[in-house]
Structures are given as structure tokens and as C-alpha cells.
């Protein structure tokens, strides 16, 4: 089993990776901190699941080496679940990649991260509506403080177990 963390640069993929696996990784506040993928694992239903932190990409059409690494991770090997980490403060730009990822018809979770910053900036996101528009389950989170990670983990377990996911938060 293989989970891939995908998303735009600097949205917090490495923080989510660190929260899910406990593996220490270099996390910074600028795009392009992760240029090589990192692999870790989680134990789910007594099985070891590989989880991969991909470098950030704006599009599945790569324009540099780091994006190439990410696109190859997605296209070359079979993936059981994509966790699309999305920056809630830059919804429109992030959704571009989400729509591209959705075409791949792989099981997917949208992790709407930095929801606290979005709220502080006066950005209000109607999560049930977004979920309906995309047809993808959404977990809001504040990865740096750990908020929402438990729910994310539960949803990962459900999806990998093959449960049918209800279309609501």
C-alpha cells in the first residue's frame, strides 16, 4: 500500500508527513524546501503502509527537477491513496492541481490545511459545498498544531480498508 502526499509548494506537506509518520524532516516557510521525496510508513490495520512526501508542484506538467520528481512519483508507480494538501488561504491556485489530480481517478483526500490562518484573514470556506463540488472527502486541519490530523488518520484507515466514504464532513 502506498500513500502519496501531493500539493503546491509551501502548503505544509512535510508537516503533515511528520505528523502522520513521526519522521523528522526539514520544514521551512518557503517554497522548494523539499526537492527530493521522503518515504516513511504508518501502521494501518496491522499492515505497514508506505507514505511518501513529494516535492511541491503547481501542476502535473513539470517545469523543474523538483516537480519532475513529484510527477514521476504519481505516474510511474501504483498509488493507493493521494492526500492532496491544500493551502486554505490560496484556494483557487491550489484547486488547479486538485482538479488535475482528480482526473487520475485515484482514491483521494483533500486536506484543507492552514485553516486557522484562512479564518484569521477573513476567508470563510463552505467545506460541505466544496466537498460536493469536487466529490472528494475533505479534512480541514492546522498541521503545525496537530489539529485535524486525528480525523485525517481515521479517514486514511477507512479508505484503505475499502469503506464507502460518505459525502459529508
Amino acid at each position: 500500500m502506498r500513500i502519496l502526499l501531493m500539493g503546491n509548494p509551501n502548503v505544509g506537506k512535510s508537516v503533515v508527513f511528520n505528523r502522520l509518520t513521526g519522521i523528522k524532516v526539514i520544514i521551512s516557510n518557503y517554497p522548494g524546501t523539499t526537492v527530493e521525496f521522503l518515504e516513511g510508513s504508518m501502521i494501518i490495520n496491522n499492515k505497514k503502509v508506505r507514505i511518501i512526501d513529494a516535492p511541491g508542484v503547481y501542476s502535473l506538467i513539470p517545469s523543474d527537477r523538483a516537480e519532475e520528481v513529484a510527477a514521476n512519483l504519481l505516474m510511474r508507480d501504483p498509488t493507493d491513496l493521494v492526500i492532496n494538501v491544500v493551502d486554505a488561504t490560496n484556494l483557487e491556485r491550489n484547486l488547479y492541481l486538485t482538479l488535475q489530480l482528480k482526473e487520475l481517478t485515484l482514491p483521494m483526500i483533500l486536506n484543507l490545511n492552514m485553516i486557522d490562518v484562512a479564518r484569521k484573514r477573513g476567508i470563510e470556506i463552505d467545506i460541505p459545498d466544496l466537498q460536493q463540488a469536487l466529490g472528494v472527502p475533505i479534512i480541514p486541519s492546522v498541521a503545525v498544531s496537530g489539529e485535524g490530523i486525528k480525523k485525517l488518520r481515521e479517514l486514511i484507515v477507512k479508505i484503505l480498508r475499502g469503506d464507502k466514504i460518505e459525502n459529508r464532513v
Binding site: P9, N10, K24, V25, I26, I27, S28, N29, Y30, P31, G32, T33, V35, E36, P55, S59, L60, I61, S63, D64, R65, A66, V69, A71, M75, T89, L91, E92, R93, L95, Y96, T98, L99, Q100, K102, E103, L104, T105, V117, R121, G122, I123, E124, I125, D126, I127, D129, L130, Q132, A133, L134, G135, V144
Partner: protein
């Protein structure tokens, strides 16, 4: 909800689906410009499929797809998102102030000056007030006592703790210099540097610095973002080289790697340089950095002119300022220190081991016969400096450390030491960085880059000797 493209694009997709057996997502990616999937469709069929759409929009299909997608993303975003107006916070005002040249440049100068002062003071304090007393006191008593009990004198004695009567920087014993250089001198500098770097990274200052230096970097064919690999390289060239992956063309990456290799000394070298040359006054250390900066700029513009290839614009995102988190600061610093200790100490040991073997075998006599004319006439260096230049292929801190006894004994003067220090920074990356060069550039380009470094080192070394001989 199924997300569809406009009818004519959907028709093109259907057309392709009928002609070739590819899943919808691969066809869409091909239309969006993916080279990998484009290869799977014959040019003729692809052209037939997109003819009508392209004519209709008057644009190539990649651009049409891009606009369609952004249209879809925008429609969803504006449907689910409400943005309330509110006044800019202090951090947001600061964000503007630090990127506008008028306020940003003085702020940047102030920040860099503050960092420099803080770095020199704190790293110097740890080394001089904590490490030196520890190594010369309790550590020395223990190690010297234990070693001399078992090996009173001879090759192994010298290999472990150096010849009798020499200080910790000069002895070149595995347990004296081999531990003192990485732990006593380099570690404090690396620690302080990484704490500062982490703060800058986590706050989000680096991309803003990139905006400020963009104009200067563009003159030498590089993007302002190249400041990020440069700053990382001041710590260690290995992560610096990795960070160049965000540059888009081979030309930019070759240039950037070569410039990093040539003119950015890592913290290991800086720390030892500060220890050896610092006592003569910080302006001397500054002179070395000025020389290297001059080389960075002149080599950059030269490479930009002679290398073929493009240097396209890249858009970078400027993240908001965030308050750094202590937990992340601790995790990152620990991680980087671990990487430093595991990556550096073995190489320092190998370096010092080789130095001892070279001394024992009297290799200088042999090397000075071959390199004599270059060393003496062209560079104006005594033959003893050969050791340093040989070890520099492996580790810069050990190589620079080898200059200390030569300077103390009066075999080399300050000008000569500065010449060698500059050459050490230029002529070759250390072994670890060389390995990353091979991985990132391939054998051919790495050799090209290395040849360039050697040539520049010899040129600059000769030039410095010439200038110094005029003024001394």
C-alpha cells in the same frame, strides 16, 4: 459532480479516446502538455483532434487547457469561499516593507549585519570560552595520559595525538585535532548558523531576500531565488546544491552549481578561517569574502555569456510571515547537527589520517618536484602548502587547519595564507559535495565544472600573488 471542459475540448478528448486506447486522464495530461503522454499519441492524430479547438480560440491547446482549468478552479473557489474585508495586520505591513526596495534594502542590510555580529560573537564565545578551555584542560589530561601510557612515542602516538608540544589545532592527531576541529571549532559555528538560518526560513524571509537581489542576479543570468541555494551553501554546499533543483534549465543549474562550488565557502571552512585569520583582524577575513564575491559576480556574467541555453523567468511565491515555532526550530537544528556530525567527522578523520601518512612518507619532496614551479613561481607559496591543497579535495576545514602551524612558524605570511584559503574555496568542492555534483549534473558536466574551478583557482591564486607582491 463531474468536471467537464467546454464542448469542443470534450469532443477532442472523445476523438482521441476513439482513435487510441488511452485512459481519459492520460489524454487530458497530453493535451495539457505532458511530454510523457504526448509521446503515446501520433502527431497526426493529435493535430486532427485539436485543430478545431485551436482555431476557435486562436491559441495552442496547452494554453487553452490551462485557462479552462483555472476557470474551473476559479468558479469553484468563488462558489465556496467568502472573503471578508479587514485591515492589514502588523506582520502584513512588515511583509510589504521588507520587499519594497526603498525600505527593504536598508532592512536587509541591517538584518545581515545583525546576523553577522551575532554569529561572530556567539560562535566565538562558545569556541574560545567553552571549547578551548575544555579541550586544553580536562580533555587533554585524559586523552594525553591514556594514549601515552600505551604508546609513549612513535607513529601511532603521533597519529593519535600528534607530535609532542603542539597545540590542538596544529598537532594533527586523530584524537586531538580530529576531535577539536569538528567539535570545538566547526560545531559551534554550524550550530549558531543553523539556528539563525532556521529562524530566517521559518519566518519566511528568504523569498523576500530573493526579490530584493533579483535585479543583481539577473545581470548574471540567474534568478533572485538563487540566493536560497547560496545561503544554504554557506552552511554546507550539499543542501545548497540540492536546492538548485528549483531552477528550470540545465544552463541555470550548471551555472549555479559551478558558482556555488567556486565561491561559496561552507561553514566548516569559515569557522577555521575565523580561528586562524580572525586574530589578525576581521577585515582580513572580510577581504577573503570580498575576493570570493568578486569571483561570483565576474564568473557569473562570464558563464552567462559563453554558455548556451536559456535563462527563463520563473515565478516564485512569497509566503506570508509566520511566527517561528520552537518545536520546529529544535527539530530542524537537531536534524542538521546530526547530519553535520555524521557527515563531517568521518571525513575529518580520513583527512587527518591521510595527512599523517603523507607526512610519514615524506610525500612533499615528490609532489614539490612536480608542482614546484606552479607553487613557487606562479603562486608564491612554500612547498609545505601542498598538504593543505591536497587535503582540500577531501575536507576544507582540515585543509585550512593545516595552514595554522605554517603561519605560526613563519613559513607562510598572512598574504600567502589568504591566497591558499581563497584557492581552497575555489578549486574543488569537498568530497561530499563532489558526490552530489555527480548525482545532480552527471559525469560530463561535473568534470567540466571541476576543470573550470581548477582553472579559476590557478588564475585567482596567481593574480593574488601578483597583487600581494606589489603591496608587501
Amino acid at each position: 459532480m463531474k468536471i467537464e471542459f467546454e464542448p469542443k475540448i470534450e469532443r477532442a478528448i472523445k476523438y482521441l479516446q476513439e482513435k487510441i486506447s488511452l485512459p481519459r486522464w492520460q489524454i487530458i495530461l497530453a493535451l495539457e502538455g505532458s511530454k510523457e503522454f504526448k509521446k503515446k499519441i501520433s502527431q497526426k492524430i493529435l493535430k486532427e483532434a485539436v485543430q478545431e479547438v485551436e482555431k476557435d480560440h486562436g491559441e495552442p491547446i496547452e494554453l487553452i487547457m490551462l485557462k479552462e482549468r483555472f476557470g474551473q478552479a476559479g468558479a469553484i473557489a468563488s462558489r465556496v469561499q467568502k472573503v471578508h474585508h479587514r485591515h492589514p495586520t502588523f506582520l502584513e505591513k512588515l511583509e510589504d516593507a521588507t520587499v519594497k526596495p526603498l525600505t527593504g534594502l536598508p532592512i536587509a542590510a541591517g538584518i545581515l549585519w545583525g546576523i553577522f555580529k551575532f554569529f561572530i560573537t556567539v560562535a566565538g564565545f562558545i569556541t574560545d570560552r567553552l571549547m578551548v578551555p575544555f579541550f586544553e584542560g580536562p580533555y587533554d589530561n585524559f586523552i594525553r595520559g591514556s594514549v601515552e601510557k600505551i604508546f609513549p612515542h612513535g607513529f601511532i602516538h603521533d597519529m593519535l595525538i600528534g607530535a609532542p608540544g603542539t597545540g590542538y589545532l596544529e598537532s594533527f592527531g586523530l584524537l586531538t585535532t580530529g576531535i577539536f576541529v569538528p567539535i570545538g571549532i566547526v560545531l559551534p559555528a554550524v550550530l549558531v548558523f543553523y539556528i539563525i538560518l532556521t529562524l530566517l526560513e521559518d519566518i519566511g524571509y528568504l523569498p523576500r531576500l530573493a526579490v530584493l537581489v533579483d535585479t543583481v542576479f539577473h545581470r548574471i543570468g540567474l534568478h533572485g531565488y538563487s540566493i536560497v541555494p547560496v545561503i544554504l551553501s554557506f552552511g554546507c554546499n550539499v543542501p545548497g546544491v540540492m536546492a538548485t533543483r528549483i531552477l528550470t534549465t540545465d544552463k541555470q543549474r550548471f551555472m549555479m552549481l559551478t558558482l556555488l562550488g567556486i565561491s561559496i565557502p561552507c561553514m566548516a571552512q569559515t569557522a577555521v578561517v575565523l580561528n586562524i585569520i580572525g586574530p589578525f583582524g576581521l577585515p582580513w577575513v572580510g577581504l577573503i569574502y570580498l575576493i570570493l564575491m568578486g569571483i561570483f559576480i565576474s564568473m557569473g556574467s562570464l558563464l552567462n555569456k559563453i554558455l548556451k541555453g536559456e535563462t527563463p523567468e520563473i515565478a516564485i511565491e512569497i509566503p506570508p510571515y509566520r511566527l517561528p515555532r520552537l518545536s520546529n526550530l529544535l527539530m530542524k537544528t537537531r536534524l542538521r547537527m546530526e547530519q553535520f556530525l555524521l557527515g563531517a567527522i568521518p571525513w575529518v578523520f580520513v583527512g587527518i589520517f591521510i595527512v599523517n601518512v603523507l607526512y610519514a612518507l615524506h610525500v612533499t619532496d615528490f609532489l614539490s618536484k612536480i608542482l614546484g614551479p606552479i607553487m613557487g613561481r606562479w603562486l608564491g607559496l612554500p612547498q609545505e602548502a601542498i598538504y593543505s591543497l591536497v587535503i582540500g579535495f577531501l575536507r576544507k576545514d582540515v585543509a585550512t587547519g593545516l595552514l595554522a602551524p605554517l603561519l605560526n612558524a613563519g613559513i607562510m605570511d598572512l598574504y600567502q595564507v589568504i591566497t591558499v584559503v581563497a584557492m581552497l574555496a575555489i578549486y574543488f568542492p569537498c568530497a561530499a559535495t563532489f558526490a552530489v555534483f555527480l548525482k545532480e549534473l552527471g559525469v560530463k558536466d561535473t568534470l567540466k565544472s571541476t576543470a573550470l574551478m581548477l582553472a579559476v583557482a590557478l588564475g585567482v591564486g596567481g593574480l593574488l600573488h601578483f597583487i600581494f607582491s606589489l603591496i608587501s
